[in-house]
Symmetry: C2
Subunit: 157 residues, 2 copies
């Protein structure tokens, strides 16, 4: 395990260039770039991204977003949770525990975590102690949610 390697990423032009190596890149990264260029956010602002560097190369990342309790449709008590997305490890760096280190970091905040498990990644999430939810079409709308419950937290009825 290499949890200690996980860093909160700073928004700057190097980070944004690093992001281009990942497959799941889109509006969010573009928006950060525009905000940086227009000085809406400062260089080296903290981002919602966490990553692992190998040397000075960003080789794994994830995004964590706090969902407020009033929007919490997954957990009881509904105190809010972390939505984890864009978990991705670059080719050539997979199967070295980087994905696991990022997920452990998300769990270390000790509030519930939810993700949308993609493309047959169920085995990975099970290994991370995440569980599938009972699918609710109105809530989940095609997603494949896996959740992690800290002690004392249960599925919302």
């Amino acid at each position: 395990m290499a949890t200690e390697k996980v860093k909160r990423l700073l928004i700057n032009f190097k980070t944004l260039e690093d992001f281009q190596q990942f497959k799941e890149v889109g509006a969010q990264e573009l928006s950060m770039k525009e905000e940086l260029e227009e000085n809406i956010i400062e260089n080296d602002s903290e981002s919602p991204f966490y990553g692992i560097y190998y040397g000075d190369r960003l080789v794994a990342r994830m995004c964590l977003y706090k969902i407020e309790s009033k929007y919490d449709q997954y957990f009881d008590p509904p105190k809010g949770y972390l939505e984890l997305w864009k978990l991705e490890v670059l080719e050539g760096y997979k199967h070295k525990g980087y994905g696991q280190a990022l997920v452990e970091h998300a769990k270390s905040f000790n509030i519930p975590v939810k993700t949308n498990a993609r493309q047959r990644s169920d085995d990975f999430w099970n290994k991370m102690d995440f569980q599938p939810v009972t699918y609710d079409p109105d809530r989940d709308r095609g997603e494949n949610p896996f959740v992690w419950y800290p002690a004392g937290v249960q599925p919302q009825e």
Copy 2:
């Protein structure tokens, strides 16, 4: 163009078996299988999926879900829209217009369509006359939304 080939899929054991060929399969399909097995839904019920068959093989599919106007954060007037997801064409059947036929079918309902463009598919969506939105972190939470505006519909301010 082959719009006429698009069929609304019926939920039955063959359809659910066909779904296993697609990469993006998860809680939604599992839930449909359980509901069918437990007679909560009837065999051959209409599903939210649309697909294209090559012979009797399902080779392309998408899911359409109507978002009610009160949840419409994208369009003005906010009259509700179709969320399009799980658009996927099987290997060996790509680049034959099947994906385009499905998207044209979604547009044929003549209400706005929104999708979460994934893994560098922006060029495809642009070709389909979809447009990226101005990223809003609270609304879009890491998604990469592309939308299609029918005549008379504009982005929500």
